[in-house]
């Protein structure tokens, strides 16, 4: 018992309508698979953790309370430079 091709095509067309896919019985390459792909840019771009807050912003947040926060790394750096300046004037 064979089913005529026209009937099969009708079935295929109905199925495509139902599931919102493109009707393409000859299997022509229309590049639709590119359009179906999800965009992966946002996921790739968020790979590295972003800088949330800088030390300067941290210091500024405490300024209204008249509290001073020392940036030890910055102090170390300045001391290092000062030491060099005294060694090689």
């Amino acid at each position: 018992m064979s089913v005529p091709r026209a009937r099969l095509l009708d079935l295929m067309r109905a199925r495509c309508e139902l599931f919102a896919t493109t009707f393409n019985p000859e299997g022509i390459r229309t590049g639709n698979k590119i359009l179906r792909q999800r965009l992966k840019g946002p996921a790739l771009a968020s790979y590295y953790p972003r800088k949330i807050v800088t030390f300067r912003q941290f210091q500024d947040a405490f300024k209204p309370l008249e509290l001073e926060v020392d940036n030890e790394e910055e102090i170390d750096r300045l001391e290092h430079i000062a030491a060099y300046a005294t060694l090689f004037p």
Binding site: I28, R29, G31, I34, L35, L39, G41, L44, Y47, Y48
Partner: protein, 113 residues
């Protein structure tokens, strides 16, 4: 390429030039992704005239290499290394081991049987 680089450093992890470069490439790819996919669609669509497809292919190849997804490589967020990265943890195998032994990775423990 410096035109893709952020004017102010926006990374919170370990940074060296390779990490910054990779980050710039990721952002460049994100910005150009829609255009690339559109061109790729035109190239793959056999129902379009051959000339359109050829020009689309040319445009795609002439885009800046930073907008290519194949330029992106996962790097270690603790040491910037480019090889032996566990993508689940974004860490190189040695840093992963150190962090896992220190108990900083939830759910990871040393196998023993």
């Amino acid at each position: 390429m410096s035109m893709f680089r952020a004017k102010k450093l926006d990374l919170g992890c370990f940074t060296n030039i390779r990490v910054i470069r990779d980050h710039s490439k990721r952002k460049a790819y994100e910005a150009a992704e829609a255009e690339r996919q559109a061109l790729r669609y035109i190239v793959r669509n056999t129902t379009l005239p051959a000339r359109t497809r050829a020009t689309a292919q040319l445009q795609l190849t002439q885009m800046h290499c930073y907008t290519r997804p194949t330029q992106i490589r996962n790097r270690c967020i603790l040491g910037g290394k480019g090889r032996g990265i566990f993508s689940d943890f974004k860490m190189s195998r040695y840093n992963f081991r150190l962090q896992a032994l220190a108990g900083n990775l939830p759910g990871v423990k040393k196998a023993s049987w």
